[in-house]
Structures are given as C-alpha cells and as structure tokens.
Symmetry: C3
Subunit: 274 residues, 3 copies
C-alpha cells in the first residue's frame, strides 16, 4: 500500500502550494522536491487563489504568521476547498499565543482540512477548543490532556470525527487517524527534534503525498509520516558514521528522502493499526 502511494508521488509529480513560515521554508521546498513533488511558495493575497488553482494540494503552516499572510491563508484554503484539493494544516505553536490559537481555530472552522498535523500540544489546543465549541465538558478536556497512548489515539479519532480531517500527532510515537482507524507509527529518531523544521517538512511532505493520492488521504498521510521517520533513521546512522552532528543529520534526512525507494518504505515501516 505505502509502496503504491510513494510510487504515485514519483509518477504524478504533485505541485504543492505552501503558505508557510520563513524559518524552514527552504527545507520544506527541498523535501517536496526530494520526494518527487514540486513546491510553490506564494503568500500574497493578490495571487494565492490563482496559485492554489494550478496546484494539486495546499499546505498552510502558521509558523511565522502575520496579519497579511493570515488573510492569504483563509483565501487559499477556501479556494482549495472549492476545488476539492487536499489541504493540510500545520498549526505551529497553537497554544503559545492567542494569535496562533485563534488563527488555527478559525482556520479549522472556515476551511475544511484534509489533514491536520501537529505535536501533541498543538493538537490538544485545537481539540480542546473544538470540544468547547461543541459543549464538551471540562472533564473531557482533561482526559484529552493526558499523554497516554490509548487516550491520545482516542483524541485523534474524536478530533477527526469533529473536523473530518485526518489527524496526525507526531512525536516519539506518531499517530495518524481518522474517526475509525488509527496508524501507530514507531519510525523516526530523537535527533529529529534537534533540528528546526522536521515537523514543517513533514507537513509539506504530507501535502505532496496527499496531492498524488487524493482518494486515500489516511494511508497517504501515514505513508508520509513513515517515510519521514525512516529517513530520520537512515540520517542518524549516516550522521553518526561520519562523526557529524545535527546539521549533517538534516542534510542526510533530505538526502534519504531523495533516495528513498518504495521497497525501503514498505519494508521499514513500523506500523500498528487500531
């Protein structure tokens, strides 16, 4: 299954519109190219709808959001919805400031996302609020706050039921879920948290994978998460071998994606389905 998904990326060359942050944008562009897609970064309100229209998918990342680009995120998201393009949200730092929390929550309300990917804190931030707006009580909120795996899987499924988006919660263990089914993914390496952009790159990668597999968003997202994790494992081995550190690791990570073949992805995936 995952092999077919990555082969589709290489064959269909999905064009991914990214409205993203200026910290990791170069890595995001390079990982999309490395997996076989093509990136376009464009954030001016005067062109985002048109750029989204010529692409196969849209990734919205709020990492360095500002008043100007927030407007562009909503405009592009709505256009992508009109065109039924796969649309990915990366709510970077939701919970860290009111602006980020409110922007993420408003985006989730006004745009129908295909995938929402974040770390557990970001996803909880979105889930708690989404819950509140649906009248779910405080205790429920507390439960969602637990970092227990079972409970986090339940959170992911519940948030997916509320939003109709595939939910990807990434960290030491990754969860990719819709309302019915969850992939528990144990690929990756801790060094991924020692470079900036591992999460942002994954969101853009999901944009490429979903762009080429729009009929199968859950599996496409899980495949992207596995692919990133496997590349992290390969990169760690290479960085250690060469006596390198975090910057070598980052280079080897993108290298590994550009060299990743379907067999390595299929064989290396450490997944469990619930």
């Amino acid at each position: 299954m995952f092999q077919e998904i990555i082969n589709n990326v290489r064959e269909k060359l999905p064009l991914v519109h990214n409205i993203t942050n200026y910290v990791t944008v170069n890595d995001c562009a390079n990982i999309v190219l490395a997996c076989g897609g093509a990136p376009i970064m464009a954030d001016d309100i005067g062109e985002v709808e048109q750029i989204t229209s010529i692409c196969t998918s849209l990734v919205i990342n709020i990492g360095t959001l500002n008043e100007r680009t927030i407007k562009s995120m909503f405009a592009a998201g709505k256009k992508a919805n009109e065109l039924s393009h796969p649309t990915v949200l990366d709510p970077v730092g939701a919970g860290a400031s009111t602006l980020r929390t409110n922007t993420a929550l408003s985006l989730v309300k006004e745009v129908k996302f295909s995938v929402i990917r974040g770390n557990i804190s970001e996803i909880k931030c979105i889930a708690n609020e989404a819950a509140k707006t649906k009248g779910v009580e405080a205790d429920e909120g507390d439960l969602v706050g637990s970092d227990n795996l079972d409970e986090t899987v339940a959170l992911a499924k519940r948030l997916s039921a509320q939003t109709e988006a595939v939910i990807a919660i990434t960290g030491p263990i990754d969860i990719v879920a819709n309302s019915q089914k969850a992939y528990i993914i144990k690929n990756g390496h801790p060094m991924m948290s020692k470079i900036t952009g591992a999460g942002c790159m994954l969101s853009s990668l999901i944009g490429a994978f979903c762009g080429a597999n729009s009929e199968n968003l859950l599996a496409a997202t899980a495949a992207a998460v596995c692919a990133m994790g496997i590349c992290g494992e390969i990169a760690y081995e290479k960085a250690v071998q060469s006596g390198g550190g975090t910057s070598s690791f980052r280079m080897h990570l993108i290298d590994a994606m550009s060299n990743l073949d379907a067999a390595t992805l299929g064989g290396g995936a450490k997944i469990e389905i619930r």
Copy 2:
C-alpha cells in the same frame, strides 16, 4: 575571457543588493559570498534606494513577491538605473499568476535591466507580452513559444533587442544572448532541478559577476552560467561518491563555487557561440 571575469569578481569584491524571496535567500547570499562577492538583502521601501546606492549591482527576484516588496523593487530598480548599476531580473513564476506576470512585465517596462534570467516559460511569458505591446501578431507569439534551440536563440536575441537586456534562458541547455550574439552553454547537471534555488542562486551570481564586469555584461553573464553549471557537474560527482542525495548536492554546489578557480572555469566551459 571567462578567467579574467571571475578574477575580477575575486579582486573587486562586488557588493550585490538582492531583493529576493524568502525560500532561497540563504543560498543566494552564500553563493555570492562563495564566488567572491558580498550580498546585502534589504527590501523595505524606506531603505532600498540607499542600499542600492552603496552597492555595485542589484538583483530583483519575484519568487515570493508581495504588495510591499513590489514597491521596493520598482524604487530600487529606478535608483540602480539612475546610477547605471548592473541590474538583474529573475521573473520567478511569471505566467503562473497574473500578479507575477504583471509585475514582471511592469518591471521590464519601467526599469532598464542589464540581464533577465529565467527558465523558458518565464522568458516566453515576458517575450510574448513585450511583443504584444509592440504590436507583433499572434503568429509571432506562437513561434516564440517553440522549444526548438534555433527558435529559442532567436527568441532570446529578439527579446534582447526589445529590452536591451542580456537574456539568459536556463534549462538542460542554457542560452545567453544579446541582440547580436548568443552563447549556447552545455554545462550543468539534471540534479540542479531537484533542489530549490539553482535558478535564484544563478541570478544572484550573475549580479556579482556583472557587478565586477559592468563593461562586459554578455560575457559576464555567460561566465556566471558556465560557472554554475561546472559547479553542478562537480557537485554531482561528489554527491554520488559519498552516496548522498539532493541535499549533499546542494552543499557540494556551493562548496564548488567557493573553490572554483579561473582555470577550472576556463577549461570546463562547454560553449558555442552563434
């Protein structure tokens, strides 16, 4: 000839003002430093004219243009013209949105560029419109649309005649032309299209080469295109040797530029003149 050109860059340390995109800006700054120049990135309307004034050349790249920076592009471009500084346009994505197309065309109308560098689609976008505004018919437009080498050389020469800019069309084969003379350049490697920024880096490199060779813009542009291509060839060899991928390639590309000597440039250039 090319040897003298690169030696001038190393001796004169040209200061290059870049108004460019946030995707590849770091690579652009590093390639300018690698070739022997010095980059300044500045895009606020409150300083662009002054920054241009202290520099030797200006590069305008519309890769992530926005309403604010577009104004700065015009202001800087006009100031560079007043001072007769070499001025390079990289019309990234012209043709992909109305905003990009209109901005590129207006820039070409209101600023006299020394060099316009783009891929064939971007250059055609500019050429077709330039033709229209000069009353050239649709058939002419179609002819310009051909991807045949002879026709593309003709397109480059014609666009140069119209704009008085050196035209650099880069791709598997590169063409650098003024209205009278064209260099056909066969350096480079396909992996250059698998990283973001190869084109942007080249435009900034042209800014440095032209800044140090303002009396010889056609040859300076051709030398920069050859230098980039030769570094791509070296980088590909190094990436393959180390079992690397696209990110290794990117590193080796900038490395090669920082190590490029005049003899390697002179000896490695694969050029034909028409």
Copy 3:
C-alpha cells in the same frame, strides 16, 4: 566558568524569542537547538509580547527590518524589559542606511539591552551617535573610529557604560566588555566571514547562553563568543579534511556546536582579560 555556563544551557533549555531576518533565520534556529536551547521565531505585533513572555530571552536582529517588524521589535523589547529578560541586539548593517541607523539608535534608547553584538562598523555607528546625544565632541568620535585594539576595548567599555549593555564586537579578534572588564577572544577562523549568518547565529547563541545564565551576562556572552569561535576552528579542520568549501564549513560549524562539550569549550578558549 565557561564550562558551568554551557552546562547551564544544556540543563535549563532556554527558550529564545528571535525577531530576526529571513536570510539566516534557519541557521539561527538550528544553532540555538544545537547548543541546547529552543528557538521561537515570531514577529507579528499581535503576538510578540505574549511570545516574549513565555521565553527566557529575546534576540532582536535588524538584518531585514521593515516597517511592520520594526514596531514588533520595540514592543517585544519593552515587554522583555518589563519582565527583566536578557535582551540581545544585533544591529545588522547599522550605518549602511538611515533606516538601519535610526532603528538601531532608537532601539538602544527605548529598550535596555543586556547585550549588543555587532561588527566594529555597526558598533561604531551606535557609539558615535550615542556619544553625540551625550554631547561628546568630534575628536572623541574620531578616536572611537580607530581600529586599534586598545582603542576598541576602550570604545566597548565606554559604550557599555553609556548603555549598561555588554558590548560584543566581533571580527578577527573579538571583544566582549562591560564598563569595567573586557575579554579579548582569539578563537575563530576567517572562513566564518565567507558564509552568511556567522554573526546572526552568534547573536542567537548569546540569547540562549544569557537566557540560561541571566545572573552573569558578561561571562555568558564571552562563553558564547568562544564557543562559536571554537566551533569555527573545528569546522574549518573538518571542511579541509573532506576537501569541502564554505557550505561544508557551515554544516560542520553547526555540527560542532551540537557536539561541543564543556571540556572542549573550557580547554579551547583563547581569552585574555583586561
């Protein structure tokens, strides 16, 4: 002393708010992670005060300042002062344009910085003006303009007395001083000036070091400058060994920071105190 300082960084995991430029922002984030801190980049006026509040220190870098982000710099700086957070200024290009000079001078007037780090030209720009506003005569101004080490140490101490900030002047020889005491630091390698961002990375690194050592800002700043210099020395060795160039050097520099242990920092520091 320096060993304790870097150990504090690794133990306290300081969260560093960076309002910085889009050229070197990725390197700044990665160097903060490499040294053991965590970076947040946020520049919208709607969130900068809140982001600063959750961080341990603030770094303001004017490398690609614009009208919008200048306002955010002042707001964040004032909030950091309210909260007594260590606050670092990198006046990139002060002196190159009126906008940069005026912004840097106004920031120094309205925000109390813990550390101001720049090259000699940037620091002179700030010092001359600060002097003028205090009625210091022209001759004094000329003296400050000398590049003699003794005079530069005197400049650093005088500017520190005026601003109450630790002054870090970096270049072939680095000076880190308060009004009473100066560290002369002879670590580093000339190749650091052949990549973009060595200075910006150092400013963000100082933010992390001061965030974890707020009771000892002078030594924390000197330790960060030494750490960066030692990593530059290591990186140069590695780049040469592998036949690499400036981009390899950049990678090895961040690698070295991620691998730097307290003993290497303590043993490698080439310092003299005046």
